[in-house]
Amino acid sequence: MRITCPLCGDRDSREFSIRGHETYLDRPAPDAGEAAWDDYLHLRDNPAGETAELWYHGAGCAAWLRVRRNTVTHEVLKVDLVRDVTGGDHAD
């Protein structure tokens, strides 16, 4: 699997580490309650097909990326900087 970083170009997936589903961008408020935190930390749609995840380009530019990927074919569909997705306001 290769990932095209918007800043560094096409790279071996070993340069990146994965954090998990992009759910992690929607961190609830500390007092949002059990259900919101359960959703954020534990519950997953777990799609067989297209998904969106957070990857970190540790061995490259050190940017956080949002990677759209297919979990059945391992095809990488689209990669954005998390900064651009959230307007710079990355909560995690």
Binding site: M1, D12, S13, R14, S17, I18, G20, H21, E34, A35, D38, L41, H42, L43, R44, D45, N46, P47, A48, T51, E53, R69, T71, V72, T73, H74
Partner: protein, 416 residues
């Protein structure tokens, strides 16, 4: 047909022409008391114990592919009871006891081999952690022996004891741990369930779960609708999709785990050995192949095959630990889809729908759990009460914050 030594002899003399198909291939009936979705190890064991322990008869197991084609036939076959946490300890202890009587129970040779599992440690801190784990195992009534370096050397002379980066300090030896023939476990449970009247229906994919007034009424399948008073979901890596048919969102993410096997070699690795400083564990199958594996690829996947970086990492870790395997040629590698929970422990519970039960989240440790999970899940389905050794495997423990995090790595699906 009951299997016995006499049968083998008699059939041998008659040219082996008398063997019968091992289970029936029935058409699905319009209705059952209990429908089990998923013909893997856990689904088949659940059906068997429902029939054997609870005397229930009108049961179907629906399998979308063929029996044993999922993870039960893809794993590296380690069977052990070396857990630490209350909640896990008693469950795996119970499961290992069922393994020890399984072949007689099923009248089937599952090639259960208690060759011993040795977990190596490589620092003082790791030794302390394993000493503690060993004590927990002994408290649970199971067996554990802390080996020092010389003790390891006597049992595992082929390890690289001279490596300076991760020196071998010793190992935690679990003599009753070992391996079993994975396919035989699926086949043995399938045959035993069939003999007790369970309908095993293959090529039958469940596509919907029917619910009326908060109560389950049946399932939709590629072979038509089937009514059922109780429905049990036991579909491992596909848990997310099947649970979604009932509007249920699970604390599960599906990940890929790879495994590898070499060409057949003369016996050289007598135990199951795990490396404490890299993702690597190994045993030798009865055919002689070295069977080994490592960690998840870490990203969510339904591909049933992994990528090369983890393959390379596993080989590197193996060669660091036991350079002698470097000359063996790898014949095959494959992957299985693992139902990973955020704390690494499983779920055996009821759901918000009356009559709908779920057994999932076995991560990469569900083979050893096949007998225990089948037994405890059958108990829950038959009696509507949790079986004591599995009473902590609750669906809502994540929301309540009572995780069963055996490795202490935190609440993330790919860290266990």
């Amino acid at each position: 047909m009951r299997y016995s030594g006499l049968q083998v002899l008699a059939q041998g003399l008659m040219g082996n022409r008398g063997w019968k198909p091992v289970w029936r291939d029935p058409e699905p009936k319009p209705a059952y008391d209990i429908v089990i979705i998923g013909g893997g190890g856990h689904g088949l064991a659940t059906a068997f114990y429902l029939a054997k322990e609870h005397g229930l008869g009108n049961i179907a197991v629906l399998e979308k592919g063929y029996l044993g084609g999922g993870n039960v036939g893809r794993n590296t076959t380690i069977v052990r009871a070396n857990y630490n946490l209350p909640g896990n300890s008693e469950f795996y202890s119970h499961s290992l006891k069922l393994w020890e009587g399984l072949e007689a129970d099923l009248n089937y040779n599952v090639m259960h081999s208690q060759r011993g599992v040795i977990n190596l440690f490589h620092s003082d801190g790791q030794r302390d952690a394993y000493a503690r784990r060993g004590n927990a195992m002994i408290n649970q009534g199971d067996d554990a022996i802390l080996l020092d370096r010389e003790g390891c050397r006597r049992m595992l002379p082929y390890l690289d004891y001279d490596q300076t980066r991760f020196p071998i300090y010793g190992g935690l030896y679990h003599p009753r741990g070992g391996t079993a023939r994975h396919d035989a476990v699926a086949w043995g449970y399938a045959r035993a369930a069939d003999r007790r009247g369970v309908d095993l229906i293959q090529q039958c994919e469940v596509t919907g779960i029917d619910i009326a007034g908060g109560k389950v009424t049946g399932v939709q399948t590629t072979r038509g609708a089937i009514r059922a008073a109780k429905v049990a979901i036991v579909v491992a890596g596909r848990s997310g999709q099947v649970a979604a048919m009932a509007g249920l969102r699970l604390p599960v993410e599906s990940h890929i785990l790879q495994a590898f096997v070499t060409e057949g070699l003369k016996p050289c690795i007598d135990h199951v050995v795990t490396y404490g400083m890299g993702h690597f564990y190994i045993s030798q199958s009865d055919k002689g192949g070295l069977v080994f594996g490592g960690d998840l690829d870490f990203y969510a996947s339904y591909a049933a095959r992994g990528n090369l970086p983890m393959a390379e990492h596993v080989m590197e870790a193996g060669l660091t630990l036991m350079p002698m395997i470097g000359k063996a040629r790898v014949l095959r590698s494959w992957g299985g889809i693992m139902d990973m929970t955020p704390d690494g422990s499983p779920i055996i519970d009821k759901t918000h729908v009356d009559g709908l039960y779920i057994d999932c989240g076995w991560c990469y440790g569900g083979f050893k759990a096949v007998p225990g999970s089948g037994f405890s899940f059958a108990h829950l389905i038959a009696t509507d009460r949790h079986h004591e050794p599995a009473a902590r495997f609750r669906l809502d423990r994540f929301r309540r914050g009572v995780l069963l995090d055996e490795e202490g790595t935190g609440s993330q699906h790919n860290l266990h």
